[in-house]
Amino acid sequence: MIRRSPIHRFGLLFIAALAVSGTAAAVDHDTATLELTQAVTAVQAAERDDAARYAPTDLDQAHVLLDSAQSAADGRDWTDVAIYSERAKVVGDLASSRARQHRAEVATAEIQRTVDSLRQQLGGAP
């Protein structure tokens, strides 16, 4: 799966808004829909990364933001769709990153325990 870098996505709305005053107020349907699709993909990726287990707070926040984006889409408020989607995407990415971190910590701790045990068996020899 190809994921766009956060700065690239970040650039879509935020940096565009900086470059052209008032851009955020003129988000069109296509841009908002693209943002929403990418947000859904990021949140689904976080779920596959086991974020429910390792980063539940972040995943919950991503779900709430995604719900807000989808509600805004129902109301055809494309600016809100883009804003909430942008947030949901970045929080989804954060959930994935934290899940990876915690998974690595758990795996390393397990190996550390094995190493400690083996060292003990060998009488503390290095």
């Binding site: 955020a24 086991d50 947030r87 954060l94 990153s97 690595a104 390393t108 190996i111 190493v115």
Partner: protein
């Protein structure tokens, strides 16, 4: 006279407003931006993060920089969005770098575990295992399964893959990918696993004679998927997939190690020559 007084009043009011305005606009970036900058400084000064920083930290740096330079010209909603996004990008940078730090530590500990396990095995079976070490980096077992030149070749390969968990045993050069090298419950490789396999592919692409067997351990279909995933990755990196035998290895029912979902890449260099 009345007009002159009005002018003086307006001028005084304008000066007062200007002074008041100057007094109420704090110098420097807004407090939220300062907080973000402080968070970034903390990440840069933490060697676990700074030494393992990827593009994520550069992204966070860029986001905070853009925000700091434009904070005064953004409207409230844009500014709030910028702070939110930059804050999360900093979190991603921190978590990603710490994940890499732990994955590398895990690989080092894994190598240490292998070394210690080899020592305990030698102690347990010292009467049945005879490993003869002879000079010039040549090692030969009592079974004669490995000829000295092949062993030396494998050792040379091993030396070209620093940071990759590997060992030489009777099967050949065994490169181990632990369960944590895959996405949990899936066959996708983590970025750390890909880094290791990149090194393996570099070495194997220059030695077209070496036999390669990928063995994934586990009692379900995931093991085979992981074996195929490793073979496909090496194939995409220039190692002919036709040279690679990918297979799953099942544990006996009730085996103590049955939760060990490792994948071994066994390189048999010229062993049969």
């Amino acid at each position: 006279m009345k007009t002159s007084n009005n002018h003086r009043f307006l001028l005084a009011t304008a000066i007062a407003l200007y002074v008041a305005g100057c007094a109420t606009v704090p110098p420097g970036p807004p407090s939220e931006v300062v907080r973000l900058q402080n968070d970034l400084d903390r990440l840069h000064s933490d060697p676990r993060i700074a030494d393992n920083a990827g593009t994520e930290l550069a992204n966070a740096d860029a986001a905070v920089d853009v925000l700091a330079r434009n904070a005064r010209v953004l409207d409230a909603r844009e500014y709030e969005q910028g702070v939110f996004i930059a804050d999360k990008l900093i979190g991603i940078a921190e978590a990603s770098a710490l994940a890499r730090f732990e994955e590398q530590r895990g690989m080092q500990l894994g190598a240490e575990r292998e070394r210690l396990m080899a020592r305990t095995t030698t102690i347990d079976s010292s009467t049945t295992t005879v490993v003869t070490r002879v000079p010039q980096r040549v090692v030969q077992t009592d079974t004669g399964e490995l000829v000295p030149s092949a062993r030396a070749e494998l050792m040379s390969m091993q030396n070209q893959m620093p940071g990759v968990e590997s060992r030489l045993d009777a099967r050949g050069l065994v490169i181990r990918l632990g369960d944590f090298m895959f996405e949990p419950g899936r066959a996708e490789l983590t970025p750390t696993a890909e880094q290791s396999l990149d090194q393996v592919a570099r070495v194997l692409s220059t030695d077209t004679d070496a036999g390669i067997v990928v063995e994934a351990f586990g009692n379900d279909g995931l093991a085979r998927e992981r074996a195929d995933s490793v073979r496909d990755y090496l194939d995409a990196r220039g190692v002919d997939g036709g040279r690679i035998m990918a297979r799953s290895v099942s544990y006996a029912p009730g085996a103590i190690a049955s939760n060990d979902r490792r994948v071994d890449i066994v390189i048999q260099s010229d062993l049969r020559r």
